[in-house]
């Protein structure tokens, strides 16, 4: 499964030259250069394994493509089965194709994968007692952040309109002292 490699190498070579172009002579990066660099590196994301898909019907092919995109490769762990080159991944893809041909439902194939590799193999783990924290944490943290922001804003607003805690006399004394110290600083 080599096809993606030459693309990656070319991208790297191109991006090296682009990096040098992205930085101006005085060392500061140019916006256009950075955008160009970004665009040059995009092809590296379009990485997929090329395999002869021998499924008997278009519907099965579609289901197949959907399925291999949603399982994590147990060996590579940061690629799904569609992207991963590993022999294990090839085996699993073959197994999924066989199961599809035999008429297995998507749920059955899900169950097959989870039975052998655990919930980790799904990119969307089931919502159950040990994954509540995983699913709720982003929303909960955002909620906490929003709360903190609201409380801080309220405090600020209150602070600006707040009456001074000093009495009238004391606050005049304070002003005098501040003026004196400023004058003292200026003369130094």
């Amino acid at each position: 499964m080599m096809p993606a490699e030459p693309v990656a190498i070319t991208t790297m070579v191109r991006s090296h030259r682009v990096v040098r172009g992205a930085v101006l002579a005085n060392g500061s990066p140019s916006v256009k250069g950075i955008l160009l660099l970004f665009a040059a590196l995009l092809p590296a994301l379009a990485y997929g394994v090329i395999e002869v898909d021998q499924l008997s019907s278009e519907e099965l092919s579609q289901r197949y493509r959907g399925l291999i995109a949603k399982y994590r490769c147990p060996k590579c762990q940061n690629q799904n089965l569609a992207e991963s080159d590993a022999p294990l991944s090839a085996d699993l893809r073959k197994q999924i194709r066989t199961m599809l041909e035999e008429g297995a439902s998507n749920r059955l194939i899900d169950q097959y994968m989870v039975d052998r590799y655990g919930d980790f193999v799904l990119y969307r783990p089931p919502v159950q007692s040990n994954t509540y924290l995983l699913w709720l944490a982003p929303a909960a943290l955002t909620g906490v952040a929003a709360l903190v922001i609201v409380v801080m804003l309220r405090r600020q607003r209150r602070g600006r309109g707040e009456q001074s805690t000093l009495s009238e006399q004391d606050s005049q004394t304070l002003d005098k002292l501040l003026k004196q110290s400023r004058r003292g600083e200026k003369s130094e």
Binding site: P74, K75, Q77, P87, L88, D91, R116, Y117, G118, F120
Partner: protein, 210 residues
């Protein structure tokens, strides 16, 4: 008091986070817990590697292996040329199932430790994963054979059923053929002493039908 709390709160949070991360340093993020713990060894019918390279005198004479997947401890103990193995070979003994292959470099590193473990009388059953018989035979002949049986899984189907994701892997299987533990990676004497052997001894002492 609240002021002091506010002063020390960041330190407290840091301490908690630091201890959590320190604990995490010792763990391997790539390691997957086996989904088969507590479940029986998957049903299989696969060829055996054959009897060459066997260390004579080290193991009990081969048990009779039923061809169908019947449970049961074998009563007879006569030598039989086994050509096909099923999950019944696990019944009646506490054993290790070691997934290995000649193309796997770590398996070569692990091999001497397996020989030592086998020499102490622990039954080790090999799963020759996606390998070639000729290579496997030479390997066992040259480096020694710690295995009681060797299952030939040329297509990797049993590997899929077990949830194998990288050789070497070693499973600990109890008397009833239930998988109790999986270790991913080389089994050296430290791993054996700290992770596998205590559980092995416990399973040996456990009464039947546990």
């Amino acid at each position: 008091m609240s002021e002091r709390l506010k002063l020390y709160l960041p330190l407290l949070v840091f301490a908690v986070l630091a201890s959590l991360l320190y604990w995490g340093l010792g763990r391997d993020p790539r390691e997957l817990p086996s989904a088969l713990i507590g479940r029986p060894v998957p049903v299989f019918t696969l060829p055996a590697l054959g009897e060459e390279g066997r260390i004579p005198g080290n193991f009990v004479v081969d048990k009779v292996v039923p061809m169908q997947s019947e449970e049961g401890r074998s009563v007879e103990d006569r030598p039989v040329e086994k050509s096909v193995l099923t999950q019944a070979i696990f019944a009646g003994q506490v054993s290790l199932l070691n997934v290995w292959a000649t193309w796997c470099v770590s398996c070569r590193v692990e091999h001497p430790y397996l020989m030592e473990i086998a020499a102490t009388g622990v039954p080790i059953i090999g799963l020759n994963y996606k390998d070639e018989n000729a290579a496997a035979h030479s390997w066992l002949r040259d480096f020694g054979d710690p295995y009681q049986h060797n299952i030939v899984d040329a297509q990797g189907t049993m590997g899929l059923d077990l949830g194998v994701y990288g050789a070497p892997e070693t499973y600990l299987i109890d008397r009833d053929g239930i998988i109790r533990y999986r270790h991913v990676g080389v089994v050296d004497d430290r791993v054996w002493a700290t992770k596998l052997e205590p559980l092995y001894r416990r399973l040996l002492d456990a009464p039947d039908g546990d």
